[in-house]
């Protein structure tokens, strides 16, 4: 067998591992040993964003790289034998050729509109290797930055038009300018990696796949504002991201990118990693700082703003992971390069987490201003099972539901806000006709009520009361007066709450009421849940004529509510039935009726 130089890359982010990348990895190492190629490197890379096709395995050979999709452990040996050893790709298992460019698979619909800036290295480098990061231009931007006065860096970030990617969209350059002007010899720069929004995982993906990108952005930011100490506050639910960060900080310290006199200059920056403990509200900057100080993560009124008196009452600046990951490319390629992407008010690219009832799920980094339709249909491939799109939920518990009629809305900060959603962290959940919008609104309200810290009354009591009203409507006990009450209460909570959690908690309700009022009315007036979700308003029965007695439903019923003899019609005991719909989903003869 001729000697070939190659390596195997495996998508081993949390999502890849959940899909079975660990077993694929083990199979690859076994196969290499069996085939007499034990020296071939097997590298775990970060997430390249295509969740739907995980686990992904890449064969890199003679400078070319091919990606295999949904790889099963028993296919690995064949792939390695034919492709790595034999030079012949196993075409039927291929996703495509992966090119080292801002768009790694230009011919795939999922990637065609993408332009990866913040996620530029995810999937391309070994995230545990600093030299891999350096080989792709890593820490070059820091060298450039340190050669200029700090003021120039602030101006460059201002000119780039970059806005905070954590949700609020405050211009990053202006934030840095305020922090830089704040007097004091000791300042903090904090990275908010407390990605608590259910349905968003871009920050996790960057931290796992390219931790140095965030660290480099932080060191540059610290130089620009004059901070000498920093924290990364990362949620405890991300153990792999924490491990990567811990290692990366140590590597950067040893190489002189962190610590005293960075790269021989007068700039010093000491970086600590702080592990969160599971509180959504800690994504709010003043709550996050309270948590670093070892207290309950409760927000406080502003002013004073963090730039004046933040962590430990010293001037502080907080940026989100994705924001910081975009800094080095801006410094390296120039503000104009970044500002050329996007729209007038929203520059650059944004990573969206596309999930829910959509054919292709994953992370997509696209230029701002792209339409929701392009994201859902071109990238996401539309809705599965020939169903109709009902709504797109953007921005998680702080965002809103946009109906199909607004699909051509461009995704930029202003357009989304105008329609009652927000950019948020970029979670985009697609729902079809099987999702009840009232129940969906209740889901988000339950989340906010649970996560409300309880400090201010409007949020603590308001979210609970709104949840009660929504529950009442879902249970079929609502009145039309409840809708007015809900709307009034939502308006009050929005304007009187202390922090962003309470101020945005009513958004899912208000946007649902605005665009899907008829569904609320159907629950109240007709005692009917059009999507067939709200359990009090539905029941299941078996139509005896259609039932063949195949017992599939009885076997799948988790509570043994279905009885009957083999090959004879079965019945559901409504007293025992928990209305989970398992029978409805498995019946091949449409004999289970939901009414």
């Amino acid at each position: 067998m001729a000697e070939r130089r190659g390596r195997i890359l495996i998508g081993a982010g949390t999502c890849g591992l959940a899909a079975g990348a660990g077993a694929v990895w083990a199979a690859a190492e076994r196969a290499l040993t069996d085939l007499g190629l034990p020296d071939t490197p097997v590298i775990g890379v970060g997430c390249i964003g295509y969740c739907q096709e995980e686990p992904l395995l890449d064969v890199e050979l003679d400078g070319q790289r091919f990606t295999y999709r949904r790889v099963k452990p028993d296919q690995v040996k064949r792939i390695i034998e034919k492709h790595l050893a034999g030079g012949q790709p196993v075409t039927e298992l291929l996703l495509g050729e992966c090119v080292d460019a801002p768009n790694p698979y230009p011919t795939l619909p999922f990637y065609a509109p993408q332009n990866r800036v913040a996620t530029r290295n995810c999937g391309f480098i070994d995230p545990t290797s600093l030299s891999d990061y350096e080989a792709r231009g890593g820490y070059m931007a820091l060298r450039n930055a340190l050669a200029k006065p700090p003021h120039d860096i602030v101006e460059a970030v201002k000119a780039s038009g970059l806005r905070g990617r954590g949700g609020a969209g405050f211009p990053t350059g202006r934030k840095w300018e305020l922090a830089a002007k704040s007097p004091g010899p000791h300042k903090f720069l904090i990275c908010n990696a407390d990605e608590g929004d259910p349905g968003a995982f871009m920050d996790r993906s960057i931290l796992e796949g390219d931790p140095h990108a965030v660290i480099e952005g932080m060191v540059i930011g610290a130089y620009a504002i004059g901070a000498d100490e920093g924290y990364i506050y990362c949620r405890a639910e991300y153990p792999l991201a924490l491990e990567r960060l811990r290692d990366a900080i140590e590597q950067a310290r040893q190489k002189g990118y962190l610590g005293n006199n960075i790269l021989g200059t007068a700039h010093s920056f000491h970086l600590h990693l702080k592990e969160g403990a599971g509180a959504f509200v800690c994504g709010e900057e003043t709550a996050l700082m309270a948590s670093i100080e070892g207290r309950r993560g409760m927000p406080r009124p502003r002013p004073p703003y963090p730039a004046q008196a933040g962590l430990f009452a010293l001037p502080s600046n907080i940026n989100n992971v994705e924001t910081l990951a975009a800094i080095a490319p801006i410094i390296r390629n120039g503000a104009d390069w970044y500002a050329a992407m996007g729209t007038a008010g929203s520059k650059g690219t944004k990573v969206f987490a596309l999930t829910g009832q959509v054919n292709r799920t994953g992370l997509a980094e696209v230029p701002m201003g792209i339409s929701i339709r392009e994201i859902v249909y071109d990238i996401g491939g539309g809705i599965p099972n020939d169903r109709e799109l009902k709504a797109v939920q953007i921005g998680g518990p702080s965002g809103g539901c946009l109906p199909a009629s607004l699909l051509d809305l461009p995704v930029d900060y202003e357009s989304l806000q105008r329609e009652g959603a927000i950019m948020g962290s970029g979670g985009m959940v697609v729902v079809d006709e099987t999702t009840c919008m009232v129940d969906f609104a209740r889901f988000f309200m339950a989340f906010c009520a649970r996560e409300s810290c309880g400090k201010c009354t409007p949020c603590r009591e308001g979210t609970t009361r709104m949840l009660e009203i929504l529950t009442r409507i879902c249970d079929g006990n609502g009145t039309m007066a409840d809708l007015d009450r809900l709307e009034r209460l939502a308006g009050n909570v929005k304007i009187t709450s202390l922090c962003g959690l309470g101020q945005s908690a009513p958004n899912p309700v208000l946007s649902s009421l605005k665009h899907f009022r008829h569904e609320f009315e159907a629950h109240i007036r007709d005692r009917r849940c059009p999507a067939g979700v709200c359990k009090n308003l539905i029941s299941y029965r078996i139509e005896a004529d259609k039932c063949t007695g195949c017992v599939l439903c009885a076997r799948n019923c988790p509570v043994e509510a279905i009885t009957g003899e083999k090959r004879k019609a079965h019945v559901i005991d409504p007293e025992i039935c928990i209305k989970c719909g398992a029978c409805f989903d498995v019946c091949k003869f449409d004999a289970v009726i939901r009414g």
Binding site: A19, P198, F201, A277, G294, T355, G356, P558, A582, V586
Partner: protein, 176 residues
């Protein structure tokens, strides 16, 4: 909770007789950690995390040790421990089932999946089976949205669940 009522006595930082029920080696390990950070109230959360990693939950005795070593009122330590979802004040079962209740899982039927788990194990979310074997929890997002709805049994993630599949997973758990 009796420890809340008890008057604190004894030297600061020293584990007293209250720790009799805890494994002495682990108490000593917690004490080592606390000695390194003595007097630093900002270390309350890392200290609680350390205690939970050692004992599997945060026993009142550990909170008392933390309060004393970090020179922080017990009430504040207790306040922090009850504020954050990560901390358990009761021992967990031998195995943990975490049902993802994130948005993507929700729209793909996580509610029914959770009810099915609850029914099959005979416990409410947050509870532990009577035999102390399995704890059922709900979590906000496991980050495996592409495989929704998902559940994590100890460290293994199961994806694309249905209430029927839950039944199968439970019976394999009971056998294991």
């Amino acid at each position: 909770m009796s420890v809340l009522m008890r008057k604190r006595t004894g030297p600061i930082g020293a584990p007293d007789s209250c720790c009799a029920d805890l494994v002495p080696v682990k108490v000593a390990q917690l004490n080592d950690f606390l000695t390194q950070h003595a007097g630093k109230s900002a270390m309350v959360i890392p200290a609680l995390q350390h205690a939970q990693a050692l004992f599997g939950y945060v026993p009142p005795e550990a909170m008392q040790m933390i309060a004393e070593a970090l020179r922080t009122p017990y009430a504040r330590v207790y306040g922090v421990a009850t504020f954050y979802a990560q901390f358990r004040l009761q021992p967990a079962g031998r195995r943990t089932v975490r049902v993802c209740m994130g948005t993507a899982c929700h729209v793909r039927g996580a509610g029914s999946v959770l009810s099915a788990w609850s029914e099959a194990l005979g416990v409410k979310p947050g509870g532990t089976t009577a035999d102390g074997e399995i704890t059922l929890e709900q979590v906000s997002c496991l980050g495996a949205c592409g495989l929704a709805p998902t559940v994590m049994v100890d460290s293994t993630t199961h994806g694309r669940l249905t209430p029927g599949k839950v039944k199968q997973v439970v019976s394999s758990l009971r056998k294991a």
